[in-house]
Symmetry: C2
Subunit: 278 residues, 2 copies
């Protein structure tokens, strides 16, 4: 058999080389991302490939190395950490490991920093506000009547979350009108920061059906009665919110409306919240 | 030797029992939290303790079981997953594992869902706006002049983040004035959602010193020249923002100011953002 041409030999060598390192794609910041396929891999084989890969990426001057590791490959997490990786973030089905290769300062971004919640301010035409008593959490088993509240899901618009939570907790259908105010706080759930948006909602139905699992009781309550509760009176934050709501109810306050538009780069639908009344 | 009194025997038995399960504290939602001490533990010992603990917590009717596992104990992650745990979230120094014990629907909360960013709108008394060209990221190596932008750190107030980022990127000192608008988008960085706040800043200094690592160029630019850029003109979102900024500049728009207050339950300092001009 004749020998293969030099170029072909080189190409086979390169292929072998490629097969001996982990498959990775470049990111936008001078690093590489390895998304491990969900197929069993022996820890020894993984360490062999990982060491060769790290040498290769170091020679290429790569900065951050990311490994997205499915939970099925949990046997490879300890070996990766022993090779210098640490946790970046995790979701139920995977852990994201990362390592910064260069000697210059690490500029890797942090993981998601905030939870987002909503409170729904709903008034009917009798000047009554929709309030609930919760079964669980900090307000559970207290006699405090509060606005329906809830957590905004990942991927969910704030205005949609307010409609959904209101329906779930009280059975009331509604339209989102405005964000009246929002509060940022820190060291909240799992030490993350928290953004809480007070949303003015227009009720479209009025018969209350409290959510069995979470809501002890729900009712339409005269606004002044809500605002006069000792719990509201003794907390400055709740007084501010109650005052904003009263002013909105009386037509002398403008919050932020939701204007549908699209993001500049990725061309995805999104909402811009701004004052459309001025 | 005389035998110990019955009560003491019982107590020793109880102590032994306690030592054979993992130390845990109750959470507010019917579950338990195990914070693993940062001391080496053999995987076999851990599995033994974990199985006994899970039996104990099941008998007690516990719901969610959380294990905060320091990265030094990475050898225990695989055993925990094999016993039915999965990832909840992770930070550089630990991974949080969780398991839902009861047969009723899982009501465990999701991990942090949002990143938060700011854009700084800064105008001097010549009606010029402060703009930058970036070295990296999506806008890197383009001729787009844009507002200085940055990421709000975990635990950082939005109003403080705007002052910090502006100083870092341009050397300009400033006071936070108002949030003029904000945009929520999804499937952003690592598939998380994103909240971006446009902040009006009052400049306190005017000599620009661009940040070497991130900023290609920075300048004061006539506002109309900024708004006339093709990149701004062709993106509806940027036109909305430019329009809000123009109206604010002309004194006919009110955004949200930052009012310092304290959170209702944990008595921590926080900011409430609301329209204080109406």
């Amino acid at each position: 058999m004749s020998s293969a041409p030099a170029s072909q030999v080189l190409s086979e060598k390169q292929n072998q080389q490629v097969e001996r390192i982990l498959k990775a794609r470049n990111d936008d910041h001078g690093g590489v991302m390895v998304e491990m396929a969900n197929e069993p891999m022996d820890a020894g084989v993984f360490v062999y490939l990982l060491r060769a890969s790290l040498s290769h990426w170091r020679r290429q001057g790569k900065k951050g190395v990311w490994i997205k590791m499915p939970i099925e490959l949990v046997n490879l997490v300890e070996p990766a950490v022993k090779e210098g990786f640490y946790y970046h973030h995790a979701e139920p089905k995977y852990v994201m490991l990362v390592q910064w290769l260069p000697s210059i300062a690490n500029t890797l971004p942090a993981s998601a920093s905030h939870q987002v919640g909503i409170g729904a301010f709903v008034v009917n035409d009798k000047n009554e506000v929709l309030v609930v008593q919760e079964k669980n959490g900090k307000f559970g088993r207290t006699d405090v009547w509060k606005f329906p509240t809830g957590v905004v899901h990942e991927g969910e618009d704030i205005c949609d979350a307010a409609v959904r939570e209101l329906k779930e907790e009280t059975g009331i259908d509604s339209n989102f009108l405005e964000i009246l105010a929002f509060r940022q706080s820190h060291k909240s759930f799992f030490d993350k920061s928290d953004l809480f948006f007070v949303c003015m909602m227009q009720p479209l139905s009025f018969d209350i059906k409290p959510q069995e699992s979470e809501i002890e009781a729900a009712q339409w309550m005269p606004y002044e009665e809500y605002a006069a509760q000792p719990f509201v009176q003794k907390h400055e934050l709740l007084q501010y919110v109650a005052d904003v709501c009263r002013r909105k109810k009386d037509g002398v306050y403008s919050g932020f409306s939701a204007v549908p538009t699209i993001t500049s780069f990725s061309k995805k639908k999104c909402y811009l919240y701004l004052n459309t009344q001025d």
